[in-house]
Assembly symmetry: C3
Homo-oligomer: 369 residues x 3
């Protein structure tokens, strides 16, 4: 190794460290959970069944009958209960067994875990960790996310499951220098990779900002952002990660010729929820400072972009599984991604030991630090 080389820390390589459990994660879009239907999810390596009572309350139970282990999601909803498809035992929204067809009494210990679930905007937030710590105030501010901000419009676009560790996706989303190469011609005209940037962080957020001035957008990009391809803009792209699960990419396009026009803002949100160490649910959402009236072609473009990220993520996971190589050499543009990794690593360490020291000092950031 050449003198002075700085390597990323193998202990933060995606897949090396697990996930924080005492955090809220998005379990589903609201419209995925419907009365009368049982939705099976794997969340943080745990089987969960989601359903909705007759009055519309969303419920999340451990998806395994405590009797002989069949997934409850293989049964059916009867009133507000789930009936196991094997021997007909019924479980209520609190997870307690309410009926055993083969006997008249129900032992008190026959129950499954019921997970705290908060429905907010069009997301169902689940808490998979220590129930006593499940404070809804820890959910990120939905105004800040643009979902409930006055004057903004927010639409759930789609859920995409990706066959790779969630940290590969944080790496991807946090370092926008990839946009020019992985998504050529879709989100920029080649200028983003080389644009100057700054990085900052606070307790749970890492932020990278790239600015490009005096840009014109080619037609398809202009159409995607609903700006005028004949006018010139100052572009600010801010990627903010609210660890461990939310990535928010804010496009702010300011008319360069008329500063009195408010900037056009386009927020792409990805809620990342680990299914396992090798797969991640991505709940993709867009919020805009205008009424966009998105159409199928826009969703398709979103699927193309996320699909490219999915391909990269899955190749990285497959390569890791096949060859086990974890060495990385970081450059300046990785600074924000490395901060996200550290933040997640610290969360995990402090769940095991609240006095664990921060990793910040231990992980060299970049070749040029």
């Amino acid at each position: 190794m050449t003198a002075g080389t700085k390597l990323s820390n193998p202990s933060t390589y995606p897949g090396s460290q697990g996930y924080p459990r005492n955090q809220w994660y998005v379990a589903a879009f609201s419209n995925e959970v419907v009365t009368g239907s049982l939705l099976q999810r794997r969340l943080l390596d745990t089987p969960v069944v989601l359903y909705r009572t007759e009055s519309g309350e969303a419920v999340a139970l451990h998806d395994r009958c405590p009797h002989r282990g069949l997934p409850l999601s293989a049964g059916k909803q009867i009133g507000d209960r789930i009936q196991c498809g094997y021997h007909g035992m019924e479980f209520g929204t609190d997870g307690r067994c309410a009926l055993i067809p083969s006997q008249s009494t129900v032992p008190g210990a026959l129950s499954v875990r019921s997970y705290p679930l908060v429905e907010k905007w069009q997301w169902l937030w689940i808490w998979m960790g220590d129930e006593a710590a499940a404070d809804p105030a820890l959910i990120p501010d939905h105004d800040w996310l643009g979902l409930t901000r006055k004057g903004y419009s927010a639409v759930p676009w789609f859920m995409m499951e990706m066959g790779g560790n969630y940290v590969y996706l944080h790496d991807n989303l946090q370092d926008t220098s990839h946009v020019t190469f992985l998504h050529p011609g879709i989100l920029d005209d080649g200028e983003l990779a080389g644009a100057p940037f700054s990085v900052d962080e606070d307790a749970q957020i890492v932020r990278l900002t790239r600015k490009v001035s005096g840009l014109k957008f080619p037609g398809p990009v202009a159409h995607f952002f609903r700006v005028d391809e004949n006018r010139t803009y100052d572009r600010t792209l801010t990627t903010e990660t609210f660890a461990p699960s939310i990535s928010l990419a804010k496009q702010s396009l300011q008319d360069a010729g008329d500063s009195t026009i408010p900037p056009v803002e386009f927020y792409a949100l990805n809620a990342l929820t680990p299914a396992s160490m090798r797969s991640t649910y991505v709940f993709h959402t867009v919020a805009t400072s205008y009424e966009a009236a998105f159409q199928e072609a826009d969703f398709d473009k979103g699927r193309v972009i996320l699909g490219q990220d999915k391909v990269a993520t899955e190749i990285l996971q497959q390569r890791f599984d096949e060859y086990g190589e974890t060495e990385e050499r970081s450059v300046r543009a990785d600074k924000a991604g490395i901060l996200v990794r550290r933040m997640i690593a610290d969360m995990i360490a402090r769940e095991a030991d609240p006095q664990a020291p921060a990793l910040a000092a231990a992980i060299p950031a970049t070749q040029d630090a």
Copy 2:
């Protein structure tokens, strides 16, 4: 855990314990083994090739050429020998090498194991354990099974391979409270799960009996059992396990209005032979107290029922493989299934140590014991 809760013993969880080897297992239906054709099976994690000599004797050899390891089943039958498809060595019914094309002498040590095989009724019983202990008298009584009983008619229905441990199937078959939920509308009209039952056992048999009086059968169920949908019956369903491999479900339908009519008896037999710890051959057979003249629609119904058991078995296996959860809470209806698990566990323990104590005392049975 709530005080007083009784859990099943994780050491008897399907897949935890292996299989008894010093037992007879069904290797195939007679009609699966034909002169001139080599049948490949995996039995108790061992490769076996089955074939029939020109005079009709069925033979079972270890399915691996001792020279370079090609399966003998990839070769061909020449007279009463198998010729390996790689270098042409030939092996006789005793497993000894009889010819090496590339040299004129055959070393005495070149041989494969020949497994004891008994053809009885239309089943080929194999012994995979210590050959000295292979006593055909240990095969369960075929009169008791209804296969060769005077006045009864018995037909091999089909073989179905299931992707799960054989003990999941014993659990399934021994606890008939599942019938109402896993096979809705096919074998009962909802009454079986709640029917009173009794359990008893002897040395190698566990028996659970459920009785329901004054039943009428809906048309399709009546037709399946060949009874009159307009008459009323007293139903006795007895499930008997002859450990480790035979499950016998006896339906006895007594005309409630005329006790002089002999009961209609319908025996569903499943011979369970582990292929591996994660897959099981099920040889499904029906014996009846009458000439049923079964037709394709009956076999199809049998395939639907077994197919539902297969789905449950495979989901349980997949879930165990994926999540590793083994905790179980047993109820009264599990008593017979737990006795079967114990009996198999004792057989395995005593193959390793003839003085091993019985598990009976060590395994709490149910929540309500």
Copy 3:
């Protein structure tokens, strides 16, 4: 086990020992590597990307971007460099990073390994071991192989990837007694398995020779070798292994009635390159002492023959993976194959320890030794 029985040594069972790394292996046929296209290969469990510069020089780089691990083969060729498809970093033929789009300087340590590559005849030979030892003089003599011999004609036929350890293929190719049974009717008329043979070896070559005199060839075999089906021949089949990667099968067909006619020679070469312990690239080539003007039907016949070897190889690998049985009993015809195994085992042992003793004394060869 019978007294006096000789077993092959389990330590040389295919898959037990790895591969020599300080050896040249064929990475590709020349025509597989084209300017503007990136060829991905797994060689000795290592990811490699092959491409050709604008001036035609073939290049082999480690196929993993040192920055965040995407395969370089997922990028594209730009001039003589590869551009990574993720963040656009560019790497030259020496493996050094030449450009990072997101910053103006390139740290010296950002590079991938460039593997020694020699283009000879129509093969690209790669060296995956210690670079200081990569002496092109160690590549086997291409005149000896028949590829560049005066008067001979040589054609690359096809590459076939086989799902098994390369040593299974050496076993196969070195013991021609398999030809009669695995390739019935294609390469002989039943006479090869029983033909007398002799075995000799030198430092890196093992040679087995089978001779059959006074043969007529059935039509299809005669046509394949371009001899006259009405004339009689003395056939010499020599299989030579140049360990660890080249197998050369020489057919020499001498007109039995006229010794003044030079023999017709047909060389089938297989360059075996391990992709992993469970898969092997086979580069199949034919050289002849005449201008054969091979046609599609000849290539198809070659594919049939290699396809039969592939089936046997893959069954052996699958069986080993499934059951783990490694016991083997060797016969006289295995002598050459066992010498090849020893030679490879010795190469591997001496890479770890140059003073390692030869295995020759430790491995009993055959039942009849």
